[in-house]
């Protein structure tokens, strides 16, 4: 028997031209809790998907329990004793816990048999789950326990948990960690993928840090201080390219938007924002940062008037320019023309006839003022390049000079020129007197243009200095 539960050696993974992982290695000792840390896009999830057989690596080797293996599917990984608890659960809401657990099985199904074994397993492991409860009646914490039981039901000895605490309340997180400690103490092994440094250091035996697809740090958790880990996670990014677009030194104007003591839930009913207070002033750009699951997307939608709070007061103006992250889903209709997409912007308030010739002229104006390269206003949005689609969305939202602009990852996937154009537009908008809130997953895009920086961590909003180290620490919850 080997001492190693799971070994990934020199894993390479490319997506097109992007090198997601370069020679990344990870050794998880049997009977330990191993934390894998890193920023958004560092390659954590990719590495775990490869370990679980969901993706094939371009190079490198995988060994489970010391035996080299070639995984071709997650069924392979499960057969070899791995189990994965995904950040977005993979349960069928209308089925019971036992039925969900039985889903991966083979041959004849005796649901009473399964339920009895789940009951037994639940008592044995201390993961309280009613096998007969419908999943959609369970809270998020209980759903996560069903996911863990599902893995244990297939005799998993090594659990991979992807951001397990992102959806949990602090108390549920404590319970999960207490359970994980017992699990590893009884001989199980767990890999914990997380953004949160402190919980990793507090709970884990070993830590590995990934940055830009490489393993940059591995040690025993007890031997390492938070400061060292923060540096390992964020890196010394003097090499990051400086943006050509910078904030204007303008005076802060009147109060434009205000959230006071606001809480909000996402579509699944999970509380994502707790007691947040934010004030936005004319002429000021607020840079907003936060990892996936921190509640940052809900905060943006609260500011944009697209989400109703569960508590607190929201005062936002009526004229809001909103640039959502997924433009093809939330901002435009691909098969409609540019003009029709301009008309879409205030479709709710229109009455009577549509004056298409007037709208065509308006659209041509937007195209000209915001450098949208399209054959004509009656070209379909789907025919445009991604950069021009985004310039079109930004132009449409900013053209009537809204008093508040909310932009969510506005330069994601754009080339350098389009990126600069969009950032310049946001800076100009603030210069013209708008209050601007910009979220980006890449904080290096925010630092040059932001007057203030807010970081959302675990549903709470913190103001930090406009400084890379300060933002990077706050992102992972370090003091």
């Amino acid at each position: 028997m080997s001492d190693s539960a799971l070994t990934l050696h020199a894993i390479d993974k490319r997506f097109g031209a992007v090198q997601a992982l370069s020679s990344a290695s990870l050794e998880v000792r049997r009977g330990t809790l191993h934390a894998v840390l890193g920023e958004n896009g560092a390659g954590k999830s990719t590495l775990m998907r490869i370990a679980f057989g969901m993706m094939r690596a371009n190079g490198g080797t995988i060994a489970i329990g010391g035996a080299p293996t070639a995984l071709t599917s997650s069924a392979d990984a499960i057969a070899r004793g791995l189990g994965m608890v995904h950040q977005h659960f993979t349960l069928v809401p209308a089925m019971t816990a036992a039925e969900n657990i039985a889903l991966g099985g083979h041959g004849l199904l005796n649901i009473r048999h399964v339920a009895a074994r789940v009951q037994q397993l639940s008592e044995h492991t201390g993961l309280a789950v009613d096998p007969h409860a419908r999943v959609d009646t369970l809270g998020v914490g209980a759903q996560q326990r069903v996911e863990i039981l599902k893995a244990l039901y297939s005799d998993a000895h090594t659990l991979i948990l992807d951001e397990p605490t992102a959806v949990l309340t602090p108390r549920e997180s404590d319970e999960l960690f207490a359970w994980l400690r017992r699990f590893v103490a009884s001989g199980g092994t767990a890999v914990l993928v997380t953004h949160k440094l402190q919980e990793a250091v507090a709970a884990a035996d070993d830590v590995t840090v990934l940055r830009r697809g490489r393993c940059v740090h591995t040690s025993r958790a007890a031997d390492v201080g938070i400061a060292v880990l923060v540096r390992a996670v964020t890196g010394d990014d003097a090499s990051a390219p400086a943006s050509a677009v910078t904030r204007a030194a303008g005076a802060r104007g009147a109060l434009v938007a205000r959230l006071h003591g606001v809480s909000a839930r996402d579509a699944r009913g999970v509380e994502r924002i707790r007691d947040a207070s934010v004030e936005c002033f004319a002429g000021e750009i607020i840079g907003l940062a936060g990892v996936e699951g921190s509640g940052v997307h809900e905060l943006l939608r609260l500011l944009a008037g697209r989400l109703t709070p569960s508590a607190g007061t929201v005062n936002v103006p009526t004229a809001i320019g909103f640039v959502p992250e997924d433009r093809l889903r939330d901002a435009v209709i691909e098969e409609f023309t540019l003009t029709e997409n301009v008309a879409l912007r205030d479709a709710a308030g229109r009455t009577g006839r549509m004056h298409w010739s007037v709208l065509d002229v308006q659209t041509a104006g937007i195209m000209q003022r915001h450098d949208v390269r399209a054959p004509s206003p009656v070209a379909r949005v789907g025919e445009l390049s991604g950069g021009n689609q985004q310039k079109f969305v930004v132009g449409r939202e900013l053209d009537k000079h809204p008093s508040l602009v909310v932009a969510e990852n506005p330069v994601r996937g754009l080339d350098i020129r389009a990126t600069e154009h969009v950032l310049r537009e946001l800076v100009a908008s603030a210069g013209a007197g708008a209050a601007v809130v910009v979220y980006s997953a890449d904080i290096d895009e925010l630092l040059p243009i932001a007057h203030r920086m807010l970081v959302v961590f675990a549903g709470r909003v913190h103001e930090v200095r406009v400084d890379r180290a300060a933002v990077a620490s706050a992102l992972v919850g370090a003091p």
Partner: protein
């Protein structure tokens, strides 16, 4: 369109050959039944096309909003039954008063019948594909009950109502032919629906909701549930009006089988027209000709008229497969 015609020809020839029928004679009957004479055009093809145009518009409008109303059959029956009930009651009034009342009642009944499915969707999240289909069966059964119960003719021998008084008959357009006012009315409605969708703000909202619910609410602030609910009502009203037009223009009474499945053919009519209201005029005429020809083929060449239904089904499958191939091609 050329592809459609090719599908129709191939399907008809294939079925005739497999069935061992006298192909030349059957084809001649098909053609003559649809276009062979003034009578065929004015009393068969256009008369058959009229209800198809109403229900085709009903389905087309709903699908444009992303509302999958496949209950035009039930809404048509609700409209026809109500129109006959009201027609029997107001038959003594002058035509200019009585006929609009009868047609209006039919439209309202269709809207209510569709509104049931709309309410179930908005209130309980019931999929309209299921609820509207189920309501078709309910409507068929309600008609069966009406014509053996409260609306049965006084002698209680035949399972049908009394015939409507001439004051509530749809006027015919050409003496000696069955073509009635319902046909031009349906054409006017097709143009109106087209104009509504392309030139009004409310119509634009319908298109936006049909194209992307997410973009409609996020970028446009549109109340998508309200838009869908209103489309349910309008779609039902169009089908109900089609039923009223059929009852007052062709059957003059209510009985079982008043619709040979117009509400189902409507789905083919709308899909083949790519949900474009003006194109629906053409596809309704095409299907009207096909059904008129199939009826003649049964009379003259003993070929079962279900042939028309088979051809319609093949067209729907062809359109869906073609659209699928086209969208896949775009993604590749």
């Amino acid at each position: 369109m050329a592809a459609t015609v090719a599908v129709i020809v191939a399907a008809v020839l294939g079925i005739l050959a497999v069935g061992g029928y006298d192909t030349p004679r059957a084809l001649a009957a098909l053609w003559n039944g649809a276009f062979g004479s003034t009578y065929a055009v004015l009393s068969a093809t256009l008369v058959r096309a009229t209800p198809l145009l109403f229900v085709g518009l009903s389905v087309g409008l709903a699908f444009r909003a992303g509302v999958l109303n496949i209950g035009a059959e039930g809404q048509l029956l609700a409209g026809a039954a109500t129109a006959v009930a009201v027609g029997l009651w107001v038959g003594g009034l002058p035509p200019l008063v009585a006929l609009p009342m009868v047609l209006g009642a039919g439209a309202i009944a269709g809207a209510i019948w569709a509104g049931i499915a709309g309410f179930l969707k908005v209130r309980f999240g019931v999929l309209e594909v299921i609820s509207t289909l189920m309501l078709n069966f309910v409507a068929t059964s309600v008609v069966s009950w009406l014509i053996r119960g409260p609306l049965q003719e006084p002698t209680r021998i035949y399972p049908q109502t009394l015939e409507l008084a001439p004051s509530v008959h749809m006027p015919t357009l050409i003496a000696g032919h069955r073509l009635h006012l319902g046909f031009p009315l349906a054409i006017v409605l097709a143009v109106t629906v087209w104009w509504f969708l392309t030139h009004t703000a409310a119509g634009f909202r319908v298109r936006v909701v049909g194209a992307s619910v997410r973009a409609a609410s996020s970028a446009g602030g549109v109340n998508t549930a309200r838009t869908a609910a209103l489309v349910f009502l309008a779609s039902g009203a169009l089908a109900g009006l089609g039923g009223a037009s059929e009852a007052t223009g062709v059957t003059f009474a209510l009985y079982e089988g008043i619709s040979p499945g117009y509400g189902y053919s409507a789905i083919a009519v709308a899909l083949l027209a790519r949900l474009h209201p003006l194109a629906i005029i053409l596809t309704a005429l095409l299907f009207g000709a096909l059904e008129a020809g199939a009826a003649a083929m049964q009379r003259d060449a003993n070929v079962p008229s279900v042939l028309a239904a088979v051809v319609e089904a093949l067209i729907v499958l062809g359109v869906l497969a073609f659209n699928h191939a086209r969208t896949r091609g775009q993604r590749a």
